[in-house]
């Protein structure tokens, strides 16, 4: 009796792991076929199956080199606007969450609902005004006296825009964390004589470090991956961000799949690395933010 249950259980377990493994194959297959293709020569990827590794005769690094050359400027530009936008939106989100969670006054809920609704806005509904706004607020002429900024007006616009659209989600992430803090701890700090700003600096901020990791990782991934805002806000090709460079690489290298795949991997590399090393935080951001 016990034996049959055990073997049934064993069979169930085998079935379970088989299903899990099949799903792993499914989820990784686009990446696998892409990475194999990226290491193949043109004849290699046309004549062999996409998931088969390259043979010595069809193996080449060329695609990677060429793709990197095409994307190099885009990568630099993406880093230039993604990092400030990520840091700013996380920092501001933390401040907003503190101001709306751990102080008491009427109307907080209203402000909060407005902010949270901002997470769900389809970007299309603000695209035309955004492009108008950034042509009226002309960063290039405003900063004509400072070339490094004037030359990167599109990136400045992107950084500011992404900061603004990132604040709702980071606010929600930090708020969930701040709500879980012990109220009486903050009251104790008040009784200890700490001002609202001091409480933030000495109590809240040190306790927010894990949440900062979550918010920064989540925002970095979101902002790095975006294409739409860049399409609309970047006018000067010298300011093209990496998702734009990759799109034009794909458009101009029709049929050169090895080059396209290598380019896709190079573009994804920063977010992939972040994901591999901080997957837990990313998952927490995904689950907590709800977007």
């Amino acid at each position: 009796m016990a034996d049959t249950t055990d073997s049934r259980l064993g069979l169930n377990r085998i079935g379970l792991y088989a299903a899990l493994a099949l799903l792993v194959a499914f989820y990784l297959s686009p990446l696998e076929s892409a990475i194999m293709t990226a290491f193949k020569t043109q004849t290699g990827f046309f004549e062999t199956s996409p998931f088969v590794p390259p043979t010595p005769s069809t193996f080449t690094f060329d695609a990677w080199g060429q793709a990197f050359d095409r994307l190099e400027q885009g990568l630099v530009n993406s880093l230039l606007f993604t990092i400030p936008a990520t840091v700013l939106s996380a920092t501001l989100g933390s401040l907003v969450a503190y101001g709306l969670t751990n102080t008491k006054w009427r109307g907080q809920a209203f402000v909060l609902v407005l902010l949270v609704a901002g997470i769900f806005i389809p970007y299309q509904s603000v695209l035309v005004p955004l492009s108008r706004f950034w042509s009226i607020v002309d960063v290039a002429s405003l900063f004509a006296w400072f070339e490094p900024v004037a030359d990167r007006s599109g990136l400045v616009a992107l950084a500011v825009t992404h900061t603004a659209y990132g604040i709702p989600i980071t606010t929600l992430l930090f708020r969930a964390h701040y709500q879980s803090l012990d109220d009486s701890m903050l009251e104790a700090a008040r009784l200890d004589g700490a001002s609202i700003a001091k409480i933030y600096a000495r109590i809240i901020l040190p306790l927010s470090i894990p949440m900062f990791a979550v918010a920064l990782i989540y925002q970095f991934t979101n902002i790095w991956n975006d294409l739409l805002f860049a399409l609309v806000l970047v006018q000067n090709p010298a300011n093209d961000v990496v998702t734009m460079s990759l799109t034009s690489l794909q458009g101009s290298m029709v049929g050169q799949y090895n080059l396209q795949m290598a380019g896709a991997f190079i573009t994804a590399l920063p977010t992939l690395l972040v994901y591999i090393f901080f997957g837990e935080q990313f998952a927490e951001g995904v689950a907590g933010g709800g977007a």
Partner: protein
């Protein structure tokens, strides 16, 4: 019952006759209330004067209030969001009421709903059932199909993943990480991957079909209008089912183990247990995951843009794409803005009830 104490008014503040008067109607059950005579109240008045000096003025009090002190924390960022989100939507609405086209500047002199009329007239132009249909019809229809089919499919796959991962397996973290991985990738990257996957000659999908002897099922996945939208949704499910999994896993973890054990004791089979005991409790997870997935679906622009450019054709066109094409492709700004408003209202229809319920439950 209530008695009021004497409050000494500050000079300059309007005198309130009643508060000058000390009303004492002591009574009730309080056992320890000292009796006070007139002399006592004089003494208190003196004490009150010293207290007055310490009392902050109304302005001072206001400056000291938590509201004012919290302003520096939330106001700047909230203004930024207000400007970029709500300001922009309002502006977009205004533009949608104009006739702005071409490369000239917009003029804000005459407003009407002409663009919306055009849009909805075109939606119904060919007759809703028979053809030939306009691009408006197709974009709206495909948007709805995407919204519903993609969302349901991603929820089902996500739930399945969550249940499998929740079965107390080894290397749970690794499995979870792999299933969620596509979500960390850009639409641009995944679109390029899937363009290659769907390649009719050497793509992974058709190759695999041939390999397992189903060569007859191979298709021109992303050029055949019959399969285009399906192919797109399949790839999107691949990318976002991990998200649904994460939400469902959190929901599953919140269910006490007792219930699994109770169901087992009651003799429920595994399938019955999930169907009748566990899944009904995941309603909240389903709602929040569905809302977010629908919003993803509305934002699927990037993916289609990389696969098809701005003209995916009637079978895969969506409102988000059409809006971009009208505005930034052929500079029909006002018309593009009107389509954007339709999209916004669609999104609002999904999120407003959700946020309202969350707000009512105090879960924001």
């Amino acid at each position: 019952m209530r008695s009021r104490i004497l409050r000494v008014l500050r000079p300059g503040e309007q005198a309130d006759a009643e508060s000058e008067q000390q009303v004492r109607t002591d009574g009730g059950t309080s056992a320890d209330r000292p009796q006070r005579g007139a002399a006592d109240s004089d003494a208190r008045a003196d004490g009150g004067v010293t207290a007055t000096a310490d009392q902050p003025s109304r302005a001072r009090r206001w400056l000291d209030s938590e509201f004012v002190k919290s302003l520096p924390f939330w106001l700047p960022a909230t203004l930024l969001v207000g400007l970029f989100v709500y300001g922009a939507i309002g502006w977009n609405f205004v533009i949608s009421l104009t006739d702005w086209t071409g490369l000239r500047q917009p003029t804000y002199d005459s407003f009407d709903f002409e663009m919306y009329e055009v849009f909805f007239r075109n939606v119904g132009k060919g007759g809703l059932l028979s053809g030939p249909h306009t691009q408006e019809y197709w974009a709206l229809r495909n948007t709805f199909v995407l919204l519903v089919v993609f969302t349901v499919a991603a929820l089902v796959v996500g739930l399945l993943l969550a249940i499998l991962v929740d079965r107390d397996i080894r290397y749970e973290n690794t499995f979870r990480t792999i299933y969620l991985l596509p979500m960390s990738l850009s639409f641009v990257v995944t679109a390029i991957f899937w363009a290659w996957m769907y390649n009719p000659d050497t793509g992974m999908i058709n190759e695999t079909l041939r390999l397992v002897g189903l060569g007859s099922l191979t298709q021109q996945w992303i050029s055949d209008p019959q399969f285009k939208l399906f192919a797109v949704m399949f790839a999107l499910v691949w990318q976002f089912s991990g998200y649904a999994m994460v939400v469902y896993l959190a929901g599953l973890r919140a269910i006490p183990t007792d219930q699994y054990e109770a169901a087992k004791v009651d003799g429920a089979s595994l399938v019955k247990m999930y169907w009748r005991v566990i899944i009904p409790q995941l309603r909240a997870s389903t709602t929040s995951a569905a809302v977010v997935l629908m919003v993803f679906a509305l934002k699927a622009f990037d993916f289609l843009f990389v696969l098809f450019g701005t003209r995916p054709g009637p079978s895969a066109d969506i409102l988000a794409m059409m809006m971009y094409r009208e505005s930034f492709g052929i500079t029909n700004w006002a018309y593009g803005s009107a389509i954007a408003m339709v999209l916004f209202v669609l999104a609002l229809g999904v999120i407003a009830p959700y946020l309202y319920v969350q707000f009512k439950r105090g879960e924001l």
